[in-house]
Symmetry: C2
Subunit: 309 residues, 2 copies
């Protein structure tokens, strides 16, 4: 039952899941929902229908407002929203909101940057980064958002100035399920946290940090299985350490001052462990970063019946 | 038609193909055959049957001898043959031959080595390396055998002293067919050499050599497609350059003196290009390296009806 204090329907429409929260006027989540209705499960042109199917009871109030972050603004998704080029901040992202219904529902733009002629992109993480900075009262930080495509973000003076994507989670899944290594690893598709072996994970991180390269180091998962040196569960933890350690090898110099980790606790805990092995301190922030980012953007948006672009 | 000069049936039984040659007493291939009957296509216990099916007409001479290199000696293959630990040479490999039929058919052992508690293995490449050294009259060299699992081998004083495996070919296939990157790449399963774009390949090598890591650099294939900066065929060549460049980053210091590339010409040509970008000279040797290796081993084997182990 809603109490009437909800001022924003905050939505994170990701690739595999659709999450939402009703935020009060301080930006705190009063109610939360999650559906397995990510981008890949929505038929072409079906975003409006899925939105109303999931949120009709939360949205049919006369004064309800809604901001959507994530992949909803991707090409062929709900409505393509151009990326905001870095450096970018709350001002540019709020100005770049793309209205689905003027004054009621808008999609937050993603961010893009460029390094040596190669572009990089994010959709959703920009909102979490701005929320985490706001939550922690920081204007300068190195932030890491682990996941299928991990993001390393440099924020200076409250702006996202540069970032880089690492296909770490996807690489773990590719090696675990589709490569030769799969033969020596537990068959279950689940079990990411079940039977996690911290020593094996740390060994994997250490091996990656010594160099040699992922192409070589990953093969050790095969040979250790071949010589029966380690059980499958330990090898899975070691492989996780190998790919995360490989990502950490490419960390920016600024990371030495400590990083903010944003994400689910199981994964950020692994990154915190691996970063500690590099001598890098970290601080973890959970899902509230995304809600806070949408709250901050909502305060800057032009809701008064005045359509944006 | 055989002329009677054939003294050895040389077989390379790999994971995906079965190749053979009849060698004369100087080790030259007189006739060659190739079948799509690699390890993965042979049913358990079916190696003897496949061998006779493919080579009965070549093998039924009273004095015919046969040496088999490759995966035939793997666990669950024709007959498991223990690895020869490095350093190893023609002497140890010949002494370690595993007889399928005493004095007639033997399998060459693979080689193993260890680095910081992590084992590495090869089956088949050891024979090619010894053959290439013999062909070139070398006793010291750094040799590279590109492929699904590339091998970098250090030979000193005619012995294989150390080597390392890199999952380069497998990684290319994983990223090309099973990752998010597949969306921006040509759909055809073929076309490795068709439409090869040397500039895009060189750009990929250069990007890898600048660092940043494969987990990050591979994502650029996605973003370049997203911004329509490059056509799919160019991106495929660039991805090839990225993974080969990543392998080269881990090259041993000795490689600076030049390397011997062993393998099919299309792939060794790519490696030669990438190595040139690192300032490393290379010399290519083809399939004759494997036949020569088996010839050299056959000269050292104990054929006189005297069974080995």
């Amino acid at each position: 039952v809603l109490t009437g204090v909800a001022t924003l329907l905050a939505v994170d429409w990701g690739t595999s899941s659709l999450r939402a929260a009703l935020l009060d006027d301080l930006g705190s989540a009063q109610l939360e929902r999650s559906y397995p209705r990510g981008l890949t499960s929505v038929p072409s042109g079906g975003f409006d229908a899925v939105f109303h199917e999931c949120f009709a009871d939360w949205f049919d109030e006369a004064d309800q407002r809604c901001l959507v972050a994530g992949m909803a603004g991707a090409r062929s998704a709900w409505q393509e929203v151009p990326y905001c080029p870095c450096p970018t901040s709350v001002d540019e992202l709020a100005a770049g909101l793309s209205w689905i219904r003027p004054g009621r529902i808008a999609i937050v733009p993603g961010a893009c940057c460029e390094s040596r002629g190669v572009p990089d992109v994010m959709r959703g993480e920009e909102t979490q980064v701005l929320g985490a900075l706001d939550l922690l009262g920081l204007r300068d930080a190195t932030l890491v958002l682990p996941g299928t495509h991990s993001k390393w973000v440099s924020a200076r003076d409250g702006r996202i100035v540069q970032f880089s994507t690492h296909m770490t989670g996807e690489m773990f899944a590719l090696l675990r399920h589709h490569s030769l290594l799969a033969r020596g690893l537990p068959a279950s598709a689940e079990g990411f946290d079940d039977g996690f072996d911290t020593q094996a994970f740390d060994d994997g991180v250490a091996q990656a940090l010594r160099g040699g390269g992922l192409l070589h180091n990953a093969f050790s998962i095969r040979t250790l299985a071949l010589f029966d040196r380690k059980p499958g569960a330990a090898l899975l933890s070691r492989l996780s350490g190998l790919v995360i350690g490989e990502e950490l090898l490419a960390r920016p110099r600024d990371a030495a001052d400590g990083v903010i980790l944003i994400g689910a606790s199981g994964l950020t805990a692994r990154y915190a462990r691996a970063l500690a092995q590099c001598g890098v301190a970290s601080h973890c922030v959970g899902a509230q970063a995304g809600w806070r980012g949408l709250h901050v953007l909502a305060q800057r948006a032009r809701w008064a019946g005045r359509p944006g672009r």
